[in-house]
Amino acid sequence: MSLDSGEIDRLLSRIALGDRQAFSRLYDACAPKLFGVCLRILRERSQAEDALQETCVKIWRNSQSYAGGSQSPMAWLVSIARNHAIDVLRARRAPAVDIDEAIGISDPGPDPERNAIISDETRRLTACLEEQKPERAEALRAAYVEGYSYEELATRFSVPLNTMRTWLRRGLMSLRECLERQVPE
């Protein structure tokens, strides 16, 4: 991402006014990240390309609702991509292929440039996940990153559905408590 959050925010406010140049700049800056989201969740290139297209159309059409809300620009953009990709994922029945196959390259590993700048938010969340039981933290991460449903998580972690639900609900609530402890009011 080559633009900072303030710049993305300014572009979104211009997009809300119908500024196509601003939309083009936002696309250039953010589409790779959003495509990464779609590809990771859908694991199929042509579906991910369609999902990115839908995501961008929604960004243009809903930009006025962003302007009236309180979310950070990246949280808003990533949510639109994740929501759409998860909708597509839930609607289809075909088994997912391997992610490396979908991307067409082997896992590049952590991006050193991105990892050089670890935000305070990331550091806090990572610390809070580490307080949880490892398999629960892992399930939480997999739910977010891969877009797995409770049902898929239960299968993958070989626990009953209700157990998985209890894990994640408790995990989420203790995550919130931990984050609130770390941010002095």
Binding site: S13, G18, S24, L52, Q53, S72, W76, E121, Y150
Partner: protein, 235 residues
């Protein structure tokens, strides 16, 4: 707070977290989405969870999408207007000059200026804009008189709703929108533009009209829906 209230509050919080995380499926997911669309307090809980969980998105490595995706997006969003605007007659000076002159004549009449005063120097490029809703009809025609730093608009569609005003904005380059004024209810509108801003009304700048409370935006930035927008063109 009763125990039942507390239980209900916890249930909403957990549901908001689940929706933000993305683990719900089927009817459960649909029901939670409906709640978020209709219950602002619940939607705020969901937003807060999206913010909390955002660092997990660091796991998504950016991957450049094929160029065809951007073309497809822009074609879907802008194609009708683009075709319309590139369809020959739109770019034709023969159409624009009389329209612009007509618009400036309206302004001249309104301003009580004598008619024999020529509208614009023939050698100076005409700066005009057609402001349309996305994929919709043209709602305002704008003509900028560089000699007088005067922007003339002709409304060709419905006036603002009762108790509302239309406000005109200039978006130049990478700048935030700047208000050029409230448009009122007349069909022909003439606005004097300060010389600092006048220099920014050039080809490529965007004029946009938003729906605002009476008297215009209280914040200095657009607060209502954008009802029409269009780029300034030079002829």
């Amino acid at each position: 707070m009763t125990a039942a209230d507390d239980k209900q509050r916890q249930e909403r919080e957990a549901l908001a977290a689940e929706l933000a995380l993305g683990v719900l499926a089927g009817e459960e997911r649909r029901a939670a989405e409906r709640l978020a669309a209709t219950d602002a307090a619940f939607a705020a809980l969901v937003d807060a969870w999206r913010e909390r969980l955002l660092p997990l998105a660091d796991a998504y490595a950016p991957i450049a999408p094929p160029a065809a995706v951007k073309r497809a997006v822009e074609a879907r969003l802008f194609a009708p207007a683009t075709r319309f605007m590139q369809g020959g007659w739109w770019n034709s000076l023969a159409v624009w000059r009389p329209l612009a002159i007509a618009a400036s004549l309206v302004a001249i009449v309104l301003a009580g200026v004598q008619l024999y005063d020529p509208p614009a120097g023939e050698d100076r490029p005409l700066l005009v804009a057609a402001l349309a809703a996305e994929g919709g009809p043209v709602r305002y025609l704008a003509y900028f008189d560089q000699g007088r730093d005067q922007l003339t608009l002709t409304r060709v569609d419905k006036p603002p709703a009762q108790g509302r005003d239309h406000e005109l904005w200039l978006i130049a380059g990478g700048n935030a929108p700047v208000s050029l004024g409230v448009l009122g209810r007349e069909e022909g509108i003439s606005l004097a533009v300060g010389s600092g801003l006048a220099a920014e009304i050039a080809a490529g700048a965007v004029l946009a009209v938003s729906d605002e409370p009476l008297g215009g935006s209280p914040t200095g930035a657009p607060t209502g829906a954008v009802i029409a927008a269009g780029p300034v063109k030079s002829f």
